[in-house]
Symmetry: C2
Subunit: 191 residues, 2 copies
């Protein structure tokens, strides 16, 4: 998606610790018109797929998933919740993962009411690096017994191994921009 | 908003501890078409207002804010982040609040880059009960020196004091459904 690559180059910041910050349009300040374009791009890529639910993880995945749902006939979005809110009840799927930006392990939960074996699920997230978040969502799909149609991520940091490991397992993973290398001085190169 | 009240009565669950659960359409499973209607309703209510930014709080406020932005010419959404992610940097506004569903205090942060004295801000959130979340967002607006145009919440639990306290301060607070009383057996009554 060329407009996305241009936007990453114009507005992205490369920080130490292999961090690419795109919080000016994607995950702190949200450029909603542009995120709707991202949603339409996911629809183009997965246009051959029968999907009735989008699964994501709070908080950064919600806006992109909301936009993508609008291109998939407003199919429901379910977002996995971090930590156990007191009102979630015991009937949940759950998986644990490590957040590199928050430097802590945490559990994510999805109520069993909202995901089941009849669902055909597209997982959507903002970033794919080591694959921890997608792996947690995939585990939740396995627990639900639903059909995982594929995973769509806005930005893949292809120099990290998450995407490769998932594709080796036979999971369809599509990224709208794949970063090959990045450096605060030399800039960002795409695959 | 009658369709919202009907939806709350049909799908809402009243739990112990004064909790109203609407996670089947608003804040766990998201009915995106319906949430877009909610966004259009906020536009009707605040149609007389000049707004260039929507401020909300992760995670449940994001979908409603995204939808509302679409009715306000795609004005940017900024969501306050919970806890300090390692890549936020030191230039942030922040406020603390207590989460009743998570039973813990936490800090919320907004980068100074994305909110400033030239902004005319509409605060959007899913729930208003004791007003803790809105108060934190209002404090952040005060730190930024921006103009707070008003607050729009999907559901106000009017038997709690948050809305009353904010309105007494002269802040415009609009709720699409105001719950007067609720009981697991007797059901939900609106104001």
């Amino acid at each position: 998606m060329n407009s996305l690559k241009e936007r990453i180059i114009a507005d992205g910041e490369v920080l130490s610790g292999n961090t690419l910050k795109v919080d000016s349009f994607l995950n702190h300040r949200i450029d909603t018109g542009f995120v709707l374009e991202i949603g339409r791009e996911f629809k183009k890529i997965f246009s051959d797929c029968d999907i009735n639910k989008i699964l994501t993880i709070e908080a950064s995945g919600i806006a992109v998933s909301f936009a993508t749902s609008q291109s998939f006939d407003f199919c429901p979005v379910v977002f996995a919740k971090k930590g156990a809110a007191s009102n979630m009840g015991p009937d949940v799927y759950h998986a644990s993962l490590y957040s590199y930006t928050r430097r802590a392990d945490y559990e994510v939960y999805v109520s069993k009411k909202y995901l089941n074996k009849n669902d055909k699920v597209l997982i959507i997230d903002d970033f794919l690096a080591n694959g921890d978040a997608l792996n947690a969502l995939i585990k939740i799909c396995e627990q639900a017994g639903c059909e995982l149609v594929g995973c769509g991520v806005v930005i893949e940091k292809a120099m990290q191994k998450g995407g490769e490991m998932l594709r080796e397992k036979g999971i369809r993973v599509e990224a709208l921009a794949r970063v090959e290398s990045m450096d605060a001085e030399k800039g960002i190169e795409f695959c």
